[in-house]
Symmetry: C2
Subunit: 338 residues, 2 copies
């Protein structure tokens, strides 16, 4: 017999469907002896719940969704998402909840997907990434009453539950480290200002500058691409009093920046120190290997999954969990200024 149902088990155990359901779900209504007998038979027949049937009766589908709204081209270079994903999965697999992943072009398509998922009952909740300033997704999700957790954005009032790392603190660590080495001209090649984390990093640099006696600490925004990272670096290094250290908001831009420095005959770390805000194999492959801020992205994802599950269980909960702080991994690309 292919794919036994609880009716088959009931028949074989000589009890009713209901009794089998009780036994399999560990709820009261059957004696311990009967429960064990049923469980043994179910095991023997290799029974597995039919996910659709369960989803129809109860109203959970044991599945959560995650939409990434980025052009595929810019995705995947950074190990960030891969690590995040496996972290999320490890958090979910404990409860054997499955993950639906979607890569779309823009936020509009992303929101459209949330609507569809909700109306078709395909997911119990979603995980949001790349939180922007005044993110339109937040209101939409609240309207849909779809449980959600935000990764990377600290939830303010009226926000969604979140899991976040302290970007501000991390950036301060970098800048203080560079200042301690003796750098006074530090530039920051930032990402897109629409992202909240970009804003927080820019603000951190600006706030720290006077305290550390920095002469100049400009934050220059880019679109996170290697091209703009390179172009910005070129501009910075062509200045009369060029910076002696540059902090990049991503590893890809840092690598592109390193390339520009080499091309312009600026030695790293001799004439220029480079720090990447985000670590990956990329930074380690370079010569010199790049000093970088590393986060435990896997754990990040795992925690997001945990929080989401508790939000699904109880939609009223509001959790804003702060994860382990990122640590600065010092490699060969930083040194005292000449």
């Amino acid at each position: 017999m292919a794919r036994p149902t609880i009716a088959d088990i009931a028949l074989r155990a000589g009890v009713s469907k209901g009794a089998v359901s009780f036994a399999l779900n560990g709820r009261p209504g059957v004696s311990e002896a009967t429960r064990e007998r049923i469980l043994r038979i179910a095991e023997q027949m290799a029974w597995r719940p039919h996910s659709a049937a369960r989803a129809l009766g109860a109203s959970r589908v044991d599945s959560v969704g995650m939409v990434i709204a980025r052009p595929a081209r810019t995705l995947g270079v950074e190990p960030f998402f891969a690590h995040l994903l496996s972290g999320v999965q490890s958090g979910l697999s404990a409860e054997s909840i499955s993950l639906q992943l979607l890569i779309v072009e823009d936020t509009e398509a992303e929101i459209e997907m949330y609507k569809r998922w909700t109306s078709e009952h395909r997911v119990d909740g979603v995980i949001l990434v790349d939180l922007t300033v005044r993110d339109p997704r937040i209101d939409e999700l609240k309207a849909l009453e779809l449980p959600a957790v935000v990764i990377g954005g600290r939830g303010g009032k009226g926000q969604l539950p979140s899991v976040w790392a302290d970007d501000r603190d991390a950036m301060l660590t970098i800048v203080e480290y560079l200042a301690a080495l003796g750098h006074r001209r530090i530039a920051h090649v930032a990402g897109t200002p629409i992202f909240q984390h970009t804003q927080r990093r820019i603000r951190a640099v600006r706030d720290a500058a006077p305290r550390l006696g920095l002469l100049d600490a400009p934050s220059l925004t880019t679109d996170f691409s290697d091209a703009e990272g390179a172009a910005t670096t070129r501009r910075l290094l062509a200045q009369a009093d060029r910076p002696t250290a540059i902090v990049y908001d991503s590893d890809v831009m840092a690598v592109a920046g390193l390339g520009v420095a080499m091309e312009m005959g600026v030695s790293v770390p001799g004439d220029l120190s480079i720090v990447a805000f985000d670590d990956s194999i990329l930074t380690q492959l370079m010569h010199p290997a790049l000093t970088a801020m590393s986060r435990d992205t896997f754990d990040f994802g795992r925690q997001a999954a945990e929080v989401l599950l508790s939000v699904i269980a109880n939609p009223a909960t509001m959790i804003n969990r702060r994860t382990a702080d990122p640590v600065l991994t010092v490699r060969e690309s930083t040194a005292p200024p000449a």
Copy 2:
């Protein structure tokens, strides 16, 4: 009213549930006039099918699965998967089929997942990647009668439907190009020999060597990691008659190899030409930028999705589709030997 059901629509249209179902699915049984009326009402009420209910009645869940069995660490560096994924999705979204993605540690866990998906009716079919020699997954999937399509492995007899690119031809193109430049000592830093595509590439090099008058054309296997790529390169360059060109089976290894060359004072492309078998932003970020074999990975995924859908529709079909041939993108890392 939240989430209207077909019963609501039936009530409003003054017809039976059955009639509504017929109308919504474009099957005969209702008149054109009634059908239009029902469709208009459904539209008005913003009706969407409840995926679980549909999956229970009919026996398809409009969802396909993809399991990637690799340690998360090695994943994500290569844009390969990200591009493949979005390609698969673009192929699926046309039919609004969703994708379940799973990253697991090993093949055993992967097979376990297929069993679970099958018994729980969570997916209609799966996409396989990283085909190995005598891959155990093939037999398992056949036993489960789960529709599947293999990416990257040409299906022999008794195999599964597949979508593949011509690795052999691509490798020949690279070797011939290097030979035409004048190289006679070409080394091949290959991946793991358990992968079928690795085998095909190794064989291609071996077969082409005598025809092209190569003095030496060793293929050295690695685990695809940057570490082994670097170590192997170091060994090759330390030899008495070291190769004048090295072909790497992945972009990451090629980058690592470039690092070793620089470190050992071997100039690229002056003393050594480097070719990466797989293109990405990584190769373009380097100085010199790496000559690489580029494939249309997005299209690869899209076609896999297409093939899978037709296999699901008709499980008897056996398609072995060959995708567009990869092309060699020549950049700055290749030149005639000194």
